[in-house]
Amino acid sequence: MTDQLEAFRAETRQWLEANCPPAMRQPVRTEDDACWGGRRATFSCPEQRQWLEVMAERGWTVPDWPKEYGGGGLSRDEARILRQEMAALGCRLPLSSFGIWMLGPALLKFGTHEQKLEHLPRIARGEIRWCQGYSEPNAGSDLASLATRAEDQGDHFLVNGQKIWTSYADKADWIFCLVRTNPADKHNGITFVLFDMESEGVSTRPILLISGYSPFCETFFDNVKVPKANVVGEINRGWDVAKYLLGHEREMIAGMGGRSSTPVSKVAMAAIGADAQGRLDDPVLRARIALFELKAQAFGAMSERFTDMFKAGTAHPAQPSMMKYYGTELNKARHELLMAAGGAEALEWESEATRGGTPARDWLRTKANSIEGGTSEVQLNIIAKRILALPGA
């Protein structure tokens, strides 16, 4: 077994070295610099398209999906080895996709064989770009209070309403979406449906964020026809699918906390310099950074532990809430320190020196970390109730 895996590792490395173009071994700088695929896919360079194609060919955009649905059919160990070897070479993800990260796992668990065959291979090849229709303007943290109506018309639903925070809805081809099919039952009146964003009655409007970017949209549905064959799971049981997906999303976001990034202290030393004793020449900031980095390193261990326990199936089911809460708050704290460390220059919004205001825009962007995917307050409620078993008010 181990010999087999070592052989797989060697082959994989060789193949990656031969097939991953050097341009695709550079870090991704912005969300737009990643490859998102779709009907209207744009590629930042020819190598990006090439990399997507060779990886999709092997099913390695989704290494652990079954081969019949366009996946690589790799075992968990093989998939891990592929990830490790890609990381070792610095290979970019060939495809960034909500289809892979979110819809795929839900379809694999709740979809019919027909639905899997129709959607999964196109996701794997990056042919269809998906977006997620969950949040609504008046729902917020209380997601299940969603109001977008789906009227039963026999073989189809007629969908009316509005979604918000749909990531890249203006660039997506299809949407997976929660709609209300029974107004009388909050949780058991929700259905999980899929439909084409080119359907009549769908329109989108990008939302300008405080960071100056517009990764999200408002999305409007005006008498949109959705065939009943596009229901995933049972009618009125969409909340089960949604919860499964949310758990998945939380883990993903939680996992991001552990990724390595330039230590704040390095940024600070570059901008501020050292004193005669070799210490950062800003004593109070230095102390705040030191206490932060202590916590960040401890959280690095926590991320490792969470991953290990999650794999072993021994993590508390609500543990992702803790990871999400702590990781996002830490990331916000990190960017506050980075702004202090950068001083006046970090305040620049458009300058070349800051690559178009990257420090300030990233800092503002992180403020959403503790809001999207369930606010910090919601995570604390979950920890209090589900882990600590504290009583309801």
Binding site: S135, S141, D142, I210, D282, K332, W349, S351, K367
Partner: protein, 381 residues
């Protein structure tokens, strides 16, 4: 002196508040920003400030001003902060006016009338590094005939690219880290050899990097005593630190009020979110921090207004004010954005603009880290 506003001061506040809310509300900032205004502020508004008497609030009556104090200047600044009103008021009417108090009669006669009239805009060129280090001055001023020639660069000069007058700290003796040997100069913005590279900041204000390539000024440009500029500079910094604290307090108060309003109108899980105890306690804690910050600001303003006898106490109090408001205000905007939820992340809501302005004001003239350290050094530890 009682640590609250006098009746006269309260009257000024009652005048300044509706004026600013009408003449320069957040929509005014948005219009300048969306129109990509090259100055970053409105000269028309500056004229209106003059009509209100704000521009000369700290100018002695003998020089044609109102002869009022930092408490009154702070009232104007707080309302600017509350409305995010872009204005050269802090640099000009607090900073430059403060510096000119030590300048020659000639320089005062040259600059003060324009400031009072709302025609002259000044900038402060005091920084050379990424962080506030006013005592590190490398920009050199060397003797040249009857005057001086200035060579070097300054950073983070807010609206320095359109200033008519630039107050510059320059080295006339000693090394870059020496407290001795610094001299302040009043330099015309249109001087030959002075060039500006302007950059828009996160809050849509514009700051410049100024290059001094042998800029020549005559002897009347010297402010205070040659080589002893730290005295004037210290006084100027006391004023603008306290002023920036007052403005930032306005930003924080505006953000907190907006957030409180949201807590009272937004429903989640069938309840007003302001009824959730966890948010109530955080709001109450924030209120407490802001009240403490307000007291620190007023204390610094009063001490500054008590004149040279209280200079040392005022200097410390300015650091307490700037540092304390820095701590309280960052909490106000962070809680503001978080409690607004997704809405708080959108450019359409104002709360994000408060976060940006707070960040810039926190950095200006030293943040809480700087001032905590400064107080520690002054206390000998």
């Amino acid at each position: 002196m009682a640590l609250y506003l006098t009746e006269e001061q309260q009257m000024l506040a009652d005048t300044a508040r509706p004026f600013m809310a009408e003449a320069a509300p957040v929509a005014h900032l948005r219009a300048l920003r969306d129109g990509n205004d090259p100055a970053g502020f409105s000269r028309d508004l500056w004229k209106q400030f003059a009509e209100m008497g704000f521009t000369g609030v700290l100018v002695p009556e003998g020089d044609g001003g109102l002869g009022l104090g930092h408490v009154e200047a702070g009232i104007v600044l707080e309302e600017m902060g509350r409305n995010l009103s872009p204005s050269p008021f802090l640099a000009t009417s607090v900073g430059a006016v403060g510096a000119l108090a030590d300048a020659s009669a000639e320089a005062r006669g040259r600059w003060l009338p324009g400031i009072i009239a709302g025609e002259t805009v000044a900038a402060l060129a005091l920084e050379e590094g990424a962080r506030h280090r006013p005592e590190r001055v490398a920009l050199a001023a060397t003797r040249s005939g009857n005057g001086y020639k200035l060579t070097g660069a300054k950073r983070f000069v807010v609206h320095g690219h359109v200033a008519d007058l630039v107050i510059v700290s320059a080295r006339t003796a000693g090394g870059a880290d020496d407290a001795e040997g610094i001299t302040l100069f009043a330099v015309p913005g249109n001087s030959k050899g002075l060039s500006a590279h302007a950059e828009r900041l996160a809050d849509s204000s514009i700051a410049a990097r100024l290059e001094f390539d042998g800029v020549e000024v005559d002897g009347s440009a010297v402010i205070g005593t040659l080589d002893q500029g730290m005295a004037s500079l210290g006084r100027v910094l006391g004023g603008v630190r306290t002023g920036a604290a007052a403005e930032m307090l306005g930003v924080a108060s505006g953000a907190a009020d907006m957030t409180l309003g949201y807590l009272k109108e937004r429903k989640q899980f069938g309840q007003l979110i302001g009824s959730f105890q966890a948010l109530q306690h955080r709001a109450a804690h924030l209120y407490s921090e802001l009240e403490v910050a307000r007291a620190a600001v007023l204390k610094a303003q009063q001490l500054l207004d008590e004149g040279p006898d209280k200079a040392a106490r005022a200097d410390r109090a300015a650091s307490v004010a700037k540092g304390m408001v820095g701590l309280a205000a960052v909490l106000a905007v962070q809680e503001g954005v978080q409690m607004h939820g997704g809405m708080g992340m959108t450019d359409a809501y104002d709360i994000g603009l408060y976060m940006k302005r707070q960040r810039v004001l926190a950095e200006l003239f030293g943040d809480a880290d700087y001032h905590a350290d400064r107080l520690a050094r002054l206390s000998g530890y």
